[in-house]
Symmetry: C2
């Protein structure tokens, strides 16, 4: 995964409301819900929630399925595990990354 992708995802996760939205979706019985459900659970206007959902969509964290007059949203578990791997790699790299040049002093 590119740095830009990681940065995008991190930015998408970098807002408390969006964390709440993700958790809300994950907490639903069917593991999916529509925009209105989310809006009800938050002290924000519908348009604002829709915006946040769009950010999560663009970052690939959730997916949309139109269903009649409403949309169903659900967590993209496939991407979540990718992200987990990438993030783990990032942290590991920061912890143990070999020196810039000429590691292994023989």
């Amino acid at each position: 995964m590119q740095d830009d992708d990681i940065a995008n995802i991190m930015r998408a996760l970098g807002h408390p409301v969006r964390l709440n939205i993700l958790r809300f979706i994950a907490s639903q019985q069917q593991r999916e819900c529509c925009c209105g459900d989310v809006t009800e659970s938050l002290p924000l206007a519908q348009s604002t929630v829709s915006q946040h959902i769009k950010v999560l969509l663009d970052a690939g964290l959730i997916e949309r399925k139109p269903h009649g007059t409403r949309n169903r949203y659900m967590i993209r578990h496939d991407r979540l595990s990718e992200i987990g791997t990438a993030f783990g790699g990032l942290l590991t790299g920061l912890n143990f990354q070999a020196p810039h040049k000429e590691a292994e002093p023989a």
Copy 2:
């Protein structure tokens, strides 16, 4: 760790330049470097790099140690592992979180 803390950290990680700075610091022989070193490695002005460093500092991802006329920066490994744990918890929660209310329909 609070949602706000996580969001702050994610936002700090949400910029490619800052990812580069972190990796650059981690890649140094002594696992530390000063602002000038970072600036040389990037096509950005010194003031801009200093700003990014401040964001990383505020998020607790690096620490500063004054050393003569320059400052030494190093990765905060303690925090890194905290963050790893918190992030893992977040992802796990999104994957397996129990339904919001009244699970177990008896």
